[in-house]
Each structure stands twice: as C-alpha cells, then as structure tokens.
C-alpha cells in the first residue's frame, strides 16, 4: 500500500510504501504525525464524518475548511494548499472527497485504523478516559477518538474485574511478566470506586496512588496498555478488535526504559503477527536495532531465524512465547526518515529500510541521526582519549 504526499503542510515529498510494520523516524515537527493522521483520514474518512456528525459538529457541504479543522486541529485546514497532491493506493484524494461524504449523509459505525497518539496521556490525565466532547476543537481528532475508545472500553470491555493489571485473561505470560518487571514492579493497576468517579490507581503496599502521582513512564504506558488490551487477546463486546486493519502508534517508547521498550516491541510484533498493518513513529533506536537485526538474519532458514529471534529477546526456545516468531521472517518491515530537504524547501520522507551500516548514504548508515552520536563519541575518544 502506497501513500504519496506532495506539498502538504511541511511535507514537500513523501512516497511511502507501507510494510506489514513501518517505522517513521525524524526530528520533532518533521511531519511524521501529520502523515499518519492523513493516513487515518484517507482510510476512515466516512467513519470520521459520521462521528463528527454524531457529536453535532457543523459540517459544511461546500467548504472543507471546517471538517479539516475538526480533524487536524483548529486552523490546520491550511495544511492543504493549491499544490497539495495526495494519492493512496493509486487513488487521488482531495478535501472535496470529504464534502461528498458529508453530502451523502451516510452513517458508518466502524473504523479501520486504531490510532494511538503521542499525547495519549491527555486522554486519562485525571485517572479516567475523557469523552470525545470534553476536548476542545484545538485538539486533534485522533486524540479525542482515542480517549473516547478507551472510555467505552473501560466502561464495558474489561468485564467485572476491578483489576486492570495484571489481568488473568489478557496478555501472554512473557509480556505480562516483562511489563511487571520493567514498569509496574508488582504494583497493581486497579479501578478505584471509592470516590465519585471510577478512577485508575496504582496499588503498592496497600497504598492507592492516584494517576498523576505515578512515574512518568507508568503514566505514559497506561493508555498504551489499555490500547493493547483493546486489540489483543480476549475479544471485547464494546471495542471489536476484528474491525481494525491498521494500528498506528506514535512514540510508544515515551518515558520508558530500554528494557520496557522491548516489552512494547514484543506487543507490536504480536499485533503485526495477528494481521494488523502497524505503523510506528519513534525516536528510539531500540526499534531500529530490532529491524536491523531482522534485516540481517531474515535470509536464514525458518528454524535458525526463530532461534536467533529467541536469543535476541531472551525467550526460551521451548516456550509458547517462541511461537510469536513463527513466519515472522517473511514479513515486510520498512523504515522512513523524515528530514529537511534544502532543495525542496521542506520535509522529504526518505526510505532508509536497509539500515545498512556500510551504506554511503549517512541517512541510512547512521539511521537518520539515531546512531550518529555514538559513532562520533567513538571517533572522539579514539582521537583524544587517554
């Protein structure tokens, strides 16, 4: 599946050929989120229009500016200009397409892209997921929708248990123990009903710690964990994981130690192995280290490949967790780097999927800057160190 973008906000040129798993790296404000939000708009435009209509947003049938503002955030209709050209899987898209959908009055209840935004902590900042209308229009749609999805899920998708982590029927043993060891350290995440509203708290040694008093990494991880619950294991009656074909995760590493990032990486691999197309934006080299290893061993025979993967993730060859890597070697994993391009006068997305350390192109060999500093430190110590 290809997404071609020209002259959309800061993005001057992007030709993205999505893999089963696609990583996006690049400095802050280099268009990664905009490209991913655009992808959701292209796939879920009918559902997005229906949702906004359900919440009584004014949707013009002749001027696309207001729906674009409701979606990207107030004032951001300006991302589109006369020179904007967008194609998804060979089909051109323009904001006019949204007007046609608005005019059709069609109602669509299912979305295909589960979007986990970078600012996900906003969705449960006071210990409970906010509803869609609690955000103002300056907040991008993907945050409001994510929060609303978690709200619905927490109301009816967790069963009767007041325990959110660990949960008996959710997450595989390896993921559960790894999340416990690296993030919650035997603390239990519970739904506290003692106040006026049901709120998420962390129970440690008999103390019930309110959400905002958790560590930064725990707070960042919690909405991601709920999203993983929505999409894996036990089916829920309120959020149907089978409806989704894509999962987009922005900066899953936020606030996490590299060992905890590995737990998240295993969950991402599981999502891909369960058939979702997964797109991830990141500033962490851990994910690319996995892709680099994958690239360098995917030509091995299946059994040898799995043995190497088990060693990489420290998984016992005979455990059920090792099944996670069945058939993984045939998956397509891509990596794009969004970078300022002088001649274009804006951002270009560069395909750096090989991550080949011998490449003459430093965007590829130094992984879009993620490994430049380690290399330079080595050079400096070689030249000046005692």
């Amino acid at each position: 599946m290809n997404l071609d973008i020209y002259n959309f906000g800061p993005i001057k040129e992007a030709q993205i050929d999505f893999g089963d798993l696609t990583f996006f790296i690049g400095s802050q404000a280099s268009g990664k989120s905009l490209a991913l939000e655009l992808l959701k708009l292209l796939i879920d435009k009918r559902h997005i229009v229906s949702t906004l209509r359900n919440y009584d947003y004014i949707l013009s049938e002749v001027d696309s500016r207001n729906i674009l503002d409701w979606y990207f955030g107030e004032g951001l209709h300006g991302l589109f200009s006369e020179g904007t050209r967008i194609e998804f899987s060979g089909k051109p898209f323009s904001p006019q397409d949204l007007l046609k959908i608005i005019a059709s009055q069609e109602r669509v209840s299912k979305e295909a892209v589960f979007y986990i935004p970078a600012q996900r902590i906003l969705s449960i900042s006071d210990g409970r997921p906010k509803n869609f209308m609690e955000f103002d229009v300056s907040t991008p749609y993907v945050i409001r929708m994510f929060s609303e999805t978690l709200r619905i899920f927490m109301q009816g998708g967790l069963g009767s248990s007041d325990m959110i982590f660990p949960m008996g029927n959710r997450l595989k043993g390896m993921a559960k123990s790894s999340i416990n060891e690296t993030i919650f350290h035997d603390g239990k995440v519970i739904i506290d009903k003692s106040g006026e509203q049901r709120k998420i708290k962390l129970e440690v040694d008999g103390l019930r710690i309110p959400f905002m008093a958790w560590s930064a990494g725990q707070k960042e991880f919690m909405p991601l964990l709920l999203a993983i619950y929505c999409l894996s294991d036990f089916p829920s009656s309120v959020v149907n994981k089978a409806d989704y074909q894509w999962v987009i995760i922005e900066e899953p590493e936020m606030g996490l130690h590299p060992r905890a990032i590995l737990s998240v990486l295993l969950e991402i691999i599981e999502l891909m192995q369960n058939g979702y197309k997964v797109a991830v934006s990141t500033h962490s080299s851990t994910f690319l280290e996995f892709v680099w290893a994958f690239n360098n061993i995917c030509n091995l025979e299946e059994e040898e490949f799995k043995e190497a993967m088990n060693k990489l993730f420290d998984v016992d060859d005979n455990s059920t967790a090792a099944n996670l890597f069945n058939g993984l070697k045939s998956r397509k994993i891509k990596t794009y780097y969004s970078t300022q391009h002088e001649a274009l006068g804006g951002v270009k997305f560069v395909d750096i999927s090989s991550l080949d350390a011998f490449s003459d192109d430093i965007d590829i060999s130094e992984w879009g800057g993620l490994s430049s500093f380690a290399g330079r430190s080595s050079e400096i110590v070689s030249l000046y160190g005692r």
Partner: protein, 149 residues
C-alpha cells in the same frame, strides 16, 4: 577420544605444522582468553604467523582456538575507530581462507562470529555505526574471549 581441533589444523596444509597445545600459540595474548574448564581447551594455532610467508600482503587473521571440539577465531588488535576497516578486512580474509583453504576448521567453527579483543583501550561504542559495520561483518568486539561463548 580424538582431538578434532588438532586433526583439523593438521589437515589444513597452510597451518599443518602450527598446532600448539593449550593456548601456547597465543603467546602473551593468552591472557585475553579465559576458559570455564581449561581441560577442554583442545589447542591453538597462530594463523597469522603460519601464513605470513604464503600471503605476505594479505590482512591475515590472528588465531584459532579449539575448545570442547569447536573452533573459535580470535584477533587481538588495537580498537580505535580507525582500526575498524582493518579488522573487517581481516575478517573477510579469514572467511575466504576458511572457505577455500581450511574447510575442516570451518566445519568445526562454534558459530559465525569472529572475536576481536582490544589490545589496550577500546574506543568503539556499542550502537555506533562502526560497531554495526563490525557486526554486519560477523566481527564481535569483546572485552575478553570467555570459552565457551
């Protein structure tokens, strides 16, 4: 029980007379190797020394060590960033030599890795582009060669 490593060395014409018991072929560099059970060391050979007249201009690899029926390949070399290219060239030479001149040794290789221990300080940071180039060339930079790996 026979000594597979010794047999493999003696069946390799380029190094047939180079077999040494224990870690003796390594001379002073033996200190960079430690073995869990020294009784399982099958011997060693100075590949560089044995092949210097045969391939005087080649970037030759230093040593092969036998441990518990398997062969490990060790280079002891300075480890500044400027040495990375040299060691990768040595690894390429070794791969080619094992393939064409020492198939018996290749057959008993413990794994695909070639081990590089820094003589002196090590200035190559894990995660650097230099360390990735080494890994892509099957060279593993280690503080010490602990056998078995």
């Amino acid at each position: 029980m026979g000594n597979t490593f010794k047999e493999a060395v003696e069946e390799t014409p380029d190094i047939a007379k180079g077999y040494a018991g224990g870690l003796r072929a390594l001379g002073g560099n033996a200190q960079v190797v430690s073995a869990k059970d020294t009784r399982l060391i099958d011997g060693s050979v100075d590949i560089d020394g044995c092949t210097s007249t045969l391939y005087p201009n080649a970037s030759r690899w230093d040593y092969a060590i036998g441990y518990d029926g398997k062969a490990y390949f060790l280079e002891v070399h300075p480890a500044d960033t400027s040495n990375v290219k040299e060691v990768i060239k040595k690894a390429e030479w070794l791969k080619n030599w094992l393939e064409n001149k020492a198939p018996r040794l290749k057959q008993i290789a413990a794994d695909k890795a070639f081990y590089w221990v820094a003589s002196g300080r090590c200035c190559i940071l894990r995660g650097s582009v230099q360390s990735k180039r080494l890994a892509q060339s099957n060279v593993l930079l280690v503080n010490k060669l602990n056998l078995p790996v």
